[in-house]
Symmetry: C2
Subunit: 463 residues, 2 copies
């Protein structure tokens, strides 16, 4: 296998009383297998449509690859999306393309420059217009409901600009990725004649990277999306294994569940590779939004959830590791190790007179990354800090697909263990409704009144 | 004042029993003032040299501005640094320069492209060489000790390349920012004839943004560093106020301290502005490394610390806010609000047939940012989630200097309250020593033996 997990450093034989005992795992084996059954029973149903993603997209992939070929002639490709519609495309782009892709000359890029507008900051929007020519740009509007305020605001701005500049041909510059049947965007897309890709009903935002939401942007920059799906399929096969001890997603979900119950309310995701930096961002949404729930499936108030923290090795050894080593015993650290980088960089000599530097000469940066990961993990383990490592032999399409799917399965299992709804996000409705009310949207008069009547801030608590 | 804090939503009159009572603040007033006295007593001494930064740099600023003018003719400027030497320069650059600065044409940039190499990933290093010409680039090596393995590895690679390409003129492309008296780099800099700027002895990495570490990179991209220091000076004056109720750093430190004692072991930093995104990263180092300590000043084992989480509004409303609203009551959220963005973006009409979108038309993205912040804060407060807001009237040099200094003061006060050493980082030594041992560095034979004798990973816990 190309993606493995090593959880020695979660266990009692390494961490002593800060670790998990074999007997704890054994005593929870049936509990874990029940979660496995729950997830398998839901496969493909309701919001578990993402489990079909590795299997049912042959035709979609063909259509995407064909469209992507056309788009590759443009100067820029801009994703309009937020949340899962942005984090997945960013993570995969960063993982598999040149780390300064947009700054490469066209002939080295061999594809359009790539941007994701995932905020409604006016300065960001105006800055983007300084560096792209909308007439040479394709915009991919991604929103399942067609009612995401941020994305639709961006759409309105860009559509207006395109129409002013291109008139009737504006529609050739917009691609809609949305629900095929529900919501506002599909009707609009038909009316305007946009190219369209569909988000399956059973796929929610944070589980959508392996459907057209993520596949189109990836294909546009030249990523082999069929290989990504192969990797996901491979991981799905591994995770169909109803055996706690050979199912990496199920075991890692159980380890996190046990850790949560022991008060470890923080989970750190720490890849040791610049290319995987934004995988941590993507994971943070997946884990936070899926598991952070007030009420369980039986209606009990539980306030479940574990707060994900993104970190990057070796960089954050100089920023966060002091806290991880000496602070409270409140976290689990997941390292992601890459065994083979795609290039090598040698460290030359030249400072033989300085023994605190010269020991590095003759080695490679590759060695330095790998030894620092080993050393940091050793030091944290010595301090009895729970950690496990996901090992990739290399970063490629296959392994990335497998890794994303592994995290999705882990999240699904952990949600089942917590007996919560892994797929909804009721906690953001209140904020959305308040926003609508503040804009005076019709139907939100009651909320507007509530806001007006809220206790105003007291100057006493303003400095 | 241009930077204020509003902490209504930390208090009992808003949050009920999840809030802090006036009486709790009153009962801890003397405790807070003792922390104030501790910090003032240390002003300028030992590792509190950073408190002199706003006052004693007139000459340094002149020298930096002069050197920066020369550098501005080059094509690229690359910072070699990690931790504080990287996070500060990145944060200030992002806050005050165009959001796609490096992609602007030269005439719009009016300065060199700007890069920070803060990792030793070989893919990153090689990618950088694909887009810069070292002969047209200035490299700023930042390390106080001259012994930071990551930075000195980068130095060796770049120095070797420069020497091969430029021979004796290589030294004109390297600027050293380091200790004036201690460590390896100063001797090397003199020997090689590098331009040099000094890091005062009493300024540690995470408190160094307002000394030459941060000031040179900022000046190179055209930021008014004197104004930044004016802002810092202003905030220092505000914080010299020995009055808990009018000292924003002291009050916010106390609020965090009380929250920690009540089990809130997570602090979220959530600016609502793309320009301030990396201020959160910088803050995360400051807070994590300063306060995450195993032992207090009296030798008691305390495992203090609060884990900082970086977040970005409105983006992370679609990623993290579900957890913040419904998950455990384990966090304090700090919003950063910007009242006036530096540009405006109107949302046009065009979808009058869609009421769930058309209510946005006629407003601006500026409105949307500000109303979403208001609404999210309202929703979280309604869920009894502790939060406070730092309000900037705008993002400019003065306010940014004030903001950074506010955070530094807050951290200093909170460290004093926790009775820990705010300025060391003993927890990273073990990992450094293990790295040296793995490289076979002389003097680390004992550690190498320890590593060899460590229990090997059992295959039983690898899937």
């Amino acid at each position: 296998m190309s993606v493995t997990i090593n959880y020695n450093n979660m266990m009692q034989h390494v961490l002593g009383d800060k670790g998990i005992a074999d007997s704890e795992i054994q005593s929870m084996e049936q509990f874990a297998l029940k979660a496995f059954d729950t997830v398998e029973a839901g496969r493909g149903n309701d919001m578990q449509g993402w489990m079909d993603s590795p299997y049912d997209q042959d035709e979609v992939v063909k259509a995407i690859v064909k469209k992507a070929e056309e788009i590759r002639n443009y100067d820029a490709f801009v994703v309009l999306g937020i949340g899962g519609s942005a984090l997945g495309p960013i993570a995969v782009f960063q993982a598999l393309k040149h780390l300064y892709y947009n700054e490469l000359p066209r002939e080295k890029r061999n594809g359009p420059r790539f941007y994701v507008l995932d905020n409604v900051d006016p300065e960001r929007m105006n800055a983007l217009f300084d560096i792209i020519d909308v007439e040479k740009t394709i915009f991919n509007v991604i929103t399942k409901s067609g009612a995401t305020s941020e994305t639709m605001s961006q759409y309105l701005i860009i559509n207006d600009l395109l129409k002013k500049r291109l008139g009737d041909k504006a529609n050739k510059h917009i691609i809609a990725t949305t629900s095929s049947s529900k919501g506002s965007l599909i009707g609009l897309a038909k009316e305007q004649g946009y190219d369209t890709f569909f988000i399956p009903e059973g796929v929610g935002g944070r589980f959508s990277e392996l459907c057209p939401v993520g596949l189109l942007p990836a294909a546009v920059v030249g990523i082999d999306i069929a290989k990504m799906l192969e990797g996901a399929k491979h991981m799905d096969q591994v995770c169909r294994n109803k055996n706690l001890y050979s199912n990496p997603a199920l075991m890692s979900a159980l380890l996190q569940y046990i850790s949560m119950k022991k008060g470890k309310n923080i989970t750190v995701m720490m890849p040791y590779a610049d290319s995987l930096k934004y995988i941590a961002d993507w994971y943070c949404q997946l884990w936070a939004e899926s598991l952070g729930k007030a009420v369980d499936n039986d209606g009990n108030i539980v306030h479940a959830g574990q707060t994900p923290v993104k970190s990057l090795g070796v960089t954050d050894q100089h920023s966060q590791v002091q806290l991880y080593a000496e602070g409270p015993f409140d976290k689990v650290i997941t390292f992601i190790e890459v065994q083979n980088f795609r290039s090598k960089c040698e460290i030359p000599g030249g400072l033989e007179q300085l023994p605190n530097v010269s020991f590095l000469s003759g080695n490679t940066l590759n060695d330095l990354m790998s030894k620092e990961l080993y050393a940091t993990r050793y030091a944290l383990t010595k301090q009895k800090r729970s950690n496990y490592t996901i090992v990739l032999d290399k970063v490629d399409e296959f392994n990335l697909g497998a890794l994303l799917y592994l995290f999705q399965m882990q999240t699904a299992y952990c949600g089942a263990m917590l007996n919560i709804n892994t797929y909804d996000q009721p906690g953001v409705e209140e904020g959305k409704n308040a926003t609508y009310a503040l804009f005076g949207r019709k139907g939100y008069e009651e909320k507007a009144r509530e806001l007006r009547e809220a206790t105003p801030d007291s100057d006493k608590y303003i400095i």
